[in-house]
């Protein structure tokens, strides 16, 4: 009896403890049902993870970008069709040589506390970006953008006040570039170039952008609630200059869940209105539930990277060409990746990169020769290789891979198909992700699966990857003609001539084949049928709810 009453008391105390701990652990806010959300124009979705930082200058990962893209607005912005349009700036002019850009800031642009947005706010933010003491990981974007003296400031050779940016008056921002950058308008949409308020940043110091009180943006939404690792909520800001166009009243991530199955379950029960379905298992479930699956490009290109250094199996171009022509990209994309939204590609530069004329893409102006799974051409190169090298068989080689579940699945496919294609022995070296990075950077591999995601909206972000000076060029491939073409393109202010130079360089790269493009990455998602006009951007941030609207009650 003594024991029993002690246990009862113990259990009661423990339950009380759970309740107390739960109370201490977070919000007790009520959540709305999907019908209620549609009525009040609110969207629930899962942001996937805690944003690494809400300071626009510090980080530019996908989750932070998504929230910040709604809370802030750059000089330029994207319209619902993905075109670049004036944002906080009402107009933009560039000099003939594309080296001086002048932005006129809207007189109606307001911060979320009602104060006007000034050119000085951009100047402050951009100087902070390149400040070596602040050490932004993304400061290199200022170098890619060609802003005058950015590189010297980051490497402490000049003070940050020498940055080529000037506030001519409260509403005029003038940017000086060290070389022509015809895509500077797309850079002006990017989060590290958002404006910041000096008084707010200095008032909060280390605590800046760590809670709703310490973040004041100039965009269509303001941060309303943030429970770490748990939930986040932004609400429509009435001070936004174009607030009339914003229909959604609030966007909330009721839980920060990365697991795609859990998110899909939550979507199925009406807990959230949107979720990505980027795995074959979830695609199957969505199909079984007769949901409409939509796709979008996520912007990156995946490729087979060879180590072309002397002594390595793929030092010889003919063998690389045999792989380039013989791989079956469609089979890989459809059967192995198995997520709609991905597509096979022959070229390095993705299909959405803009071309020289409005409405044209780079790819349509610079088509790639050759076709997928061209087995006869592959055999021809292989025979040529055997003849030239006086071998009877292609050399055996090892594919370097990491030990993630997906990587294992992919490398198994390539092990089999390359062995069959080249009729040789193919081994796999499966190591932890960071070891793989280290080995590929050290040039300590034969073949590996790699990829690249763009930093800005211009073919250059892909093309300069294979120059000798690029830290991320692991292949060891160096080509003087290629280098010259890239340098020429970097200094060319005529857009059409630039595209031609890129086309020439890309053709050379694909002929030499230090890497073989495989696919352009994509994603798939499901969304409540009544929730319209949500967008995904290959650039900027995704998902984008700025133009979204519930057009009727959700159907059950």
């Amino acid at each position: 009896m003594v024991l029993k009453s002690a246990m009862t008391r113990g259990a009661a105390a423990a339950l009380f403890l759970v309740a107390a701990v739960l109370y201490a652990s977070g919000v007790r806010a009520e959540q709305k049902s999907q019908d209620q959300r549609a009525l009040s124009q609110e969207v629930y979705f899962s942001a996937g993870d805690e944003p690494p930082s809400m300071d626009p200058t510090k980080q530019a990962d996908t989750i932070s970008s998504m929230w910040l893209g709604h809370i802030f607005e750059g000089l330029m912005s994207y319209d619902p069709a993905g075109n670049i349009i004036p944002g906080t700036a009402e107009s933009m002019t560039s000099s003939e040589d594309k080296k001086t850009w002048t932005f006129k800031i809207r007189k109606s642009a307001r911060w979320q506390d009602g104060k006007p947005v000034k050119a000085q706010d951009f100047l402050y933010s951009w100087r902070r970006l390149v400040d070596p003491a602040y050490a932004s990981e993304y400061s290199f974007i200022a170098i890619a953008a060609g802003i005058l003296n950015a590189e010297d400031i980051i490497s402490k050779k000049q003070p940050k006040e020498n940055l080529g940016v000037r506030a001519v008056d409260d509403h005029t921002l003038e940017v000086q570039l060290s070389r022509p950058v015809p895509f500077f308008d797309s850079l002006a949409t990017f989060q590290v170039f958002y404006p910041l308020r000096r008084d707010i940043v200095e008032k909060f110091g280390d605590k800046f952008a760590t809670d709703p009180a310490s973040i004041i943006g100039n965009g269509p939404f303001k941060l309303a609630a943030w429970q770490k690792e748990q939930s986040m909520r932004i609400e429509r800001s009435p001070t936004y200059w174009d607030a009339d166009k914003v229909r959604i009243q609030a966007i909330q991530s009721p839980a920060m869940v990365k697991d795609s199955q859990a998110n899909f379950n939550n979507f199925q029960t009406g807990g959230i209105d949107y979720t990505t379905t980027s795995s074959p298992e979830i695609i199957k479930q969505a199909q079984a539930a007769k949901l409409k699956i939509q796709t979008f490009p996520t912007g990156c290109t995946t490729y087979i990277a060879f180590n072309v250094r002397p002594g390595r199996p793929f030092a010889n171009k003919l063998l690389r060409q045999a792989v380039r022509d013989g791989v079956n990209r469609s089979e890989f994309v459809n059967k192995i990746i198995g997520v709609p939204g991905y597509k096979p590609t022959l070229g390095l530069v993705p299909d959405y990169m803009p071309g020289s004329k409005k409405g044209m893409t780079y790819r349509r102006e610079a088509p790639v020769k050759g076709r997928d799974a061209d087995y006869p051409s592959s055999q021809k190169h292989l025979q040529e290789y055997l003849a030239v090298s006086k071998q009877t068989q292609a050399p055996s080689f090892t594919i370097l891979s990491d030990d993630g579940t997906l990587a294992k699945k992919f490398v198994e496919y390539w092990q089999n198909s390359l062995a069959k294609l080249l009729n040789t022995e193919v081994r796999v070296e499966s190591v932890p992700f960071k070891t793989r990075l280290q080995k590929s950077r050290d040039g300590n591999y034969d073949v590996t699966l790699s990829g690249w995601c763009p930093d800005y909206r211009d073919p250059m972000t892909f093309m300069d990857l294979f120059t000798a000076g690029n830290d991320n060029n692991m292949t060891g491939w160096v080509n003087k003609t290629y280098e010259a073409l890239i340098v020429k393109a970097a200094n060319e202010s005529d857009i059409a001539a630039r595209i031609k130079l890129f086309a020439e360089a890309e053709a050379l790269l694909l002929d030499e084949s230090p890497m073989v493009p495989l696919d352009q990455t994509g994603g798939a998602f499901v969304v409540a049928p009544a929730l319209k006009n949500m967008r995904h951007n290959a650039f900027g941030f995704s998902p984008d709810f700025r133009y979204a609207v519930w057009d009727s009650q959700p159907k059950h």
Partner: protein, 323 residues
């Protein structure tokens, strides 16, 4: 109770506390060594950070200092100032804040799991032992084997689907009172992840309690009690149970720390804002401060819980004396 307040007791606790600090220091040092032996650093990215930018970041975080200096700085900050430093990944967030904000959620499901797991496990173990080789015993043991064999992620998905998704989508239960598949902030949200987490504890407790009960039932004092004519209920409750519980109590400490230390999978699947994800991410991101901070935090927790368990042991078992 007399023996608890003796001089020997205080000396014992004092010695244990000094040992605890030394153990923690050794743990922190080993963690430091292993952490730095892993390839890469907190600034390793799929896209390499340009050298000039990296130099600024290294300077800011003190990663350019000699490694022994970094060790001294980290130890001093941790053990003297009680500050675990800042995360390299969720920049601007201190590890101390992370623990304060997210540990309660891990603890909530952990404590729930411990209560359910211990109660059910002990009960099942006792019943299985009393009705040894009966159908109940067989079923209990079968459940234990299943519990060990199935990975917890799968169990979590099964629980989530059959206890939340299916009732909501097919049986149309009232979503305002029923379990949510993903969510946090109300008591009902603790139940599914807590239950999932408790399954492991149930299996462990059932097997352990059953074998202890069986062992004790052959003990001479049980036979003596029976011979005295004590009722079965009295023998079980006062003689068997009390003695069988003793080794089980020593298990509770480690199980408790295990349960509250955050399960990445369970927390992620049910949307529990605990420390599981942060701990896991800290390993894959070489997030030195978070990895060190959480290891020392849980290590300290473990040491203290063990100390409490040992003291409790003395309460239950009068044969144990401190001194």
């Amino acid at each position: 109770m007399q023996h608890l307040l003796s001089w020997g007791f205080f000396r014992y606790v004092g010695q244990r506390l000094i040992m605890a600090v030394l153990t923690l220091w050794a743990l922190a040092t080993l963690t430091f060594v292993f952490m730095r032996a892993v390839p890469g650093d907190p600034l390793t990215r799929t896209k390499e950070i340009p050298a000039t930018v990296r130099a600024n970041l290294e300077e800011k975080y003190g990663l350019n200092k000699p490694i022994f200096d970094q060790y001294l700085i980290q130890m001093q900050r941790m053990f003297i100032q009680g500050d675990f430093g800042e995360s390299f990944r969720t920049v601007d967030r201190s590890v101390n804040r992370m623990i304060a904000e997210n540990f309660p959620a891990s603890a909530a499901i952990g404590i729930f799991a411990l209560i359910v797991g211990t109660t059910v496990g002990l009960g099942l173990g006792i019943v299985a032992a009393l009705y040894r080789n009966s159908l109940i015993d067989r079923i209990a043991m079968l459940l234990c084997v299943i519990g060990i064999a199935i990975p917890s992620a799968l169990i979590a998905y099964v629980v989530q689907y059959f206890l939340a998704v299916f009732p909501l989508t097919h049986l149309h239960v009232n979503p305002h009172v029923w379990f949510r598949p993903v969510g946090w902030g109300q008591f009902r949200d603790v139940i599914l992840p807590g239950f999932t987490l408790s399954l492991g504890i149930i299996t462990l407790m059932t097997r352990y309690m059953r074998s202890q009960m069986v062992d004790v039932s052959f003990a001479e004092f049980v036979r003596t009690a029976r011979a005295k004519g004590a009722s079965t209920a009295r023998v079980v409750a006062l003689h068997q149970l009390r003695n069988a519980m003793l080794p089980v109590v020593s298990l509770l400490g480690p199980i408790f720390v295990g349960a509250i230390s955050g399960s990445l999978l369970i927390e992620n699947i049910f949307g529990v804002p605990g420390l599981g994800a942060a701990y896991f991410n800290s390993i894959s991101n070489n997030d030195y401060n978070v990895l060190m901070g959480l290891t020392v935090f849980y290590g300290g927790f473990f040491i203290i819980i063990n100390l409490i368990t040992d003291v409790l042991y003395g309460l239950i078992d009068p044969r144990i004396r401190f001194g």
